[in-house]
Amino acid sequence: MQTLVVAALVLGALGWLVRRVVRQVRATRVAARAGGGCQGCEH
């Protein structure tokens, strides 16, 4: 059971990080095409 929870947490964290990077790259492309706007990072 513990192993399952740990696996879920690790995969969840990894998935979240990958999705974040993909979103940031995509937002950068869109913003660059539009010539402005926020890229959606936390700043």
Partner: protein, 723 residues
């Protein structure tokens, strides 16, 4: 000074008013007029405030409600001296005010914030905005400071001269805000103001065809006349006019016709507006002759002195950095104590196993090792806030302007570089105020060399662990001096690299900076608290999201694959062997040859690699590695000092290794967000990626070479190297 009679609010009230469409207000004004303070005071938002030009770069939107429930949407536009210079932020303002920004609404009312101390200069922008065909309200801000300076403004006469409502305000204290809110509503129903001066008939005739071209594209009559006059001296094609048919030939025809009429087209707008402004100020402005120098003059005699000025600046910064250590240590110890107890408490209540290890060794050790630095972030930004709001940072800009010009950078680059001390992302965005594309790109390339707040945990971890807390002089210790050295190293290198770019890839002339030195002010405690709280919130947000997720992943990498347990070996050896057998250990060992020449072991190597996501991750990775790899629950600083090499038994990390590592972090661009923003701001697409690649590459090479030189130089001088 007389207060302005403001018309009473309209009859709308109750539920009907609450659901009524919002009144849309755009705020514009010269830089450093208290525009953002006024925006914050109106909307209750938390925008950053500084006592220097160029704080607002992006459009920021907020809203407030009147007592009767009516809602007002407010858009804070970047500060600009006029609408004529063509820098990216001025173009943003024009697009919005002319209703040609597809992403933003056109305002019902424009609120022009005018600095009462510099009325003459501020009226230039006001006179341009007044011609755009939108109702205008003028907030005559900082009237208290004008009074202190002996400036008296006849407000009813000013209203008469401008033909718009003028409300005296003190944004910092909230004085005049109620009257201003009512005036905004009342003005929305009034006719838009018109140009208050006339051009010679021959000039009007010369501009008429161009006005016709602009009107044909849907620009209102008054705005078309303003644009026609403005375009005589503007050399670039702005986005909002890009698709106007016949514009080029129209502008060329107008320039020729104006010249044929005997006027200088480049100076016509400035001459006409300032002639009118001179008449207005002659009627409304009275200045008391000053007999004694003001407090600002007396402070500036030292702060801007050729010798004392730079000395004061360096000393002031040294004291700031020392305070970061002295004041934060007791709070840090407290946080460390709490985190250790939380770890123990959770450890005692969870059954032994992988989940407990994940929570205690991964999450608490990783995230906790970063969160500990919160007091230092708060103290540093409180100091920076005081320096910004008091007006001292503008003096700092003056002091470095000479150096900036020598390296070929525009003075406008100072604010982006200053913002880089907080974070390179807003710093790079702030380069939009720079009108010359080469100057802008050169600034973008060096902003990440300014030590940002993400480096602070790395510096303080290493300085706290390896630099003794000895006092050099009262109030300044060795720890603060080393930290100051790291910040100076980044700054000086930024100037050097900028000089290199300006002489090679981005060759171009240096331009002088027009710098306004505002009078010194006491910082507003509220806005200071707001900016510190905002910084702390961002820091904790990162700790709770990115750093948490990375800590979990790194814990897994440091824990698996499992090595068969060998009970015959001592616990410490078993854990060390398990760590080396893990995926993280293998990655670290693969990286080790690249970092060995710098005196780093595989643990530092893998922490550097992980910190490509964000620099603070270096600290959390070290926290996780030491959380997984040992039973020792002392704070990370103490563990680093106590770490011994398995081979030689000597200390694994020495002060020399720590300094080499700090120098590496001064230079290395370990931040995905910065790479992304450089791609975007350097032109996007292939061009953006090319510049981001150059930036990342040169910073990595610089970091490695500098760290190597420090380490090898230190060894040659007899300092102890890695064990």
């Amino acid at each position: 000074m007389t207060t302005v009679p403001v018309p009473a609010p309209g009859a709308a009230s109750g539920d009907a008013a609450a659901t009524a469409p919002a009144l849309r207000v755009a705020i514009i004004g010269n830089p450093n007029t208290g525009k953002t303070t006024l925006f914050n005071a109106l909307t209750g938002l938390r925008q950053r405030v500084g006592n220097f030009a160029g704080v607002t770069v992006e459009r920021v939107e907020g809203a407030f409600r009147l007592d009767d429930g009516r809602r007002v949407a407010v858009l804070d536009l970047p500060g600009s001296y006029s609408l004529s210079a063509g820098s990216p932020d001025e173009q943003i303002a024009l697009e919005v005010l002319l209703g040609r920004d597809r992403d933003r609404w056109r305002p019902d009312v424009v609120l022009v914030v005018v600095d009462a101390v510099h009325l003459e200069r501020n009226l230039f922008l006001t006179s341009q905005v007044m011609e755009l065909g939108v109702p205008v309200v003028v907030a005559l801000n900082q009237v208290d400071m004008a009074a202190d300076e002996g400036i008296r403004i006849d407000v009813p006469e000013l209203i008469h001269e401008l033909g718009v409502t003028v409300v005296p305000t003190v944004a910092k204290t909230g004085e005049g805000l109620d009257a201003l809110k009512r005036a905004l509503f009342a003005s929305a129903t009034l006719p838009a103001p018109v140009r208050r001066f006339s051009l010679p008939p021959t000039v009007d005739a010369a501009l008429a065809p161009l006005v016709g071209v602009l009107e044909a594209d849907g620009i209102p009559a008054g705005a078309a006349r303003m644009e026609a006059l403005r375009l005589l001296s503007v050399r670039r094609h702005e986005v909002h006019l890009a698709r106007v048919p016949g514009l080029d030939s129209g502008v060329r025809g107008a320039v020729d016709a104006v010249r044929a009429a005997g006027y200088n087209p480049e100076r016509l707008e400035a001459d006409a507006r300032y002639a009118w402004i001179g008449q207005v100020t002659g009627r409304v402005l009275q200045r008391r002759e000053r007999v004694a120098p003001s407090a600002t003059d007396r402070i500036d005699a030292i702060a801007l002195h050729r010798v004392w000025g730079p000395l004061c600046f360096v000393l002031l910064m040294a004291v700031v950095f020392q305070s970061v250590f002295t004041w934060a240590t007791p709070i840090m110890d407290g946080i460390e104590g709490v985190l250790a107890r939380v770890g123990e408490w959770i450890g005692a209540r969870m059954p032994e196993g992988e989940l407990r290890s994940l929570v205690v060794d991964g999450v608490i050790a990783g995230v906790g090792s970063v969160v500990v630095f919160l007091p230092q972030i708060a103290i540093l930004f409180a100091f920076i806030g005081v320096l910004e709001q008091s007006g001292y940072m503008a003096r700092a800009a003056f002091l470095v302007d000479r150096i900036m010009r020598r390296v070929g950078l525009h003075g406008q680059s100072f604010i982006p570089m200053l913002s880089g001390y907080a974070c390179a992302v807003p710093g790079i965005m702030a380069t939009r105020t720079i009108s010359d594309p080469k100057d802008r790109l050169a600034t973008i390339m060096v902003v990440p060399l300014m030590s940002c707040s993400a480096r602070l945990p790395v510096y303080t971890l290493l300085i706290g662990a390896f630099v003794p807390a000895t006092a050099l002089v009262p109030g300044l210790g060795l720890q603060g001096a080393v930290m100051l050295l790291m910040y100076l190293l980044g700054t000086v290198t930024a100037f050097g690299v900028a000089a290199l770019f300006k002489r090679t890839l981005l060759r171009g002339p240096a331009r002088p900076m027009i710098l306004e030195l505002p009078p010194y002010r006491w910082p507003g405690m509220r806005s200071l608290g707001v900016s510190v709280a905002q910084r702390c919130r961002l820091f904790l947000q990162r700790a709770g999201t990115v750093i948490l997720a990375i800590s979990i992943v790194l814990w897994a990498l440091a824990t698996y694959p499992r090595l068969p347990d060998d009970p015959s070996l001592p616990e410490a050896t078993r854990q060390e062997r398990q760590l080396e057998h893990s995926a993280l250990g293998h990655i670290g060992k693969a990286i080790e040859p690249a970092v060995r020449p710098l005196g780093y072991d595989w643990k530092i190597g893998v922490s550097i690699a992980a910190s490509f996501a964000a620099r603070e991750v270096f600290v959390s990775t070290m926290g996780t590695i030491y959380g997984v790899g040992s039973e020792d629950d002392r704070a990370l600083r103490e563990r680093l000092v106590g770490e011994r090499s398995a081979v030689s038994g000597r200390p694994a990390y020495t002060p020399l290794v720590a300094v080499s590592l700090m120098v590496f972090y001064v230079y290395a661009l370990m931040c995905i967000s910065t790479v992304a923003i450089t791609v975007r701001e350097a032109g996007g697409g292939r061009l953006g990626w090319r510049w981001a690649g150059i930036q990342f590459g040169y910073m990595l090479v610089l970091a490695w070479v500098a760290a190597w030189l420090v380490y090898r130089g230190g060894l040659a001088l007899g300092f102890a190297g890695a064990g």
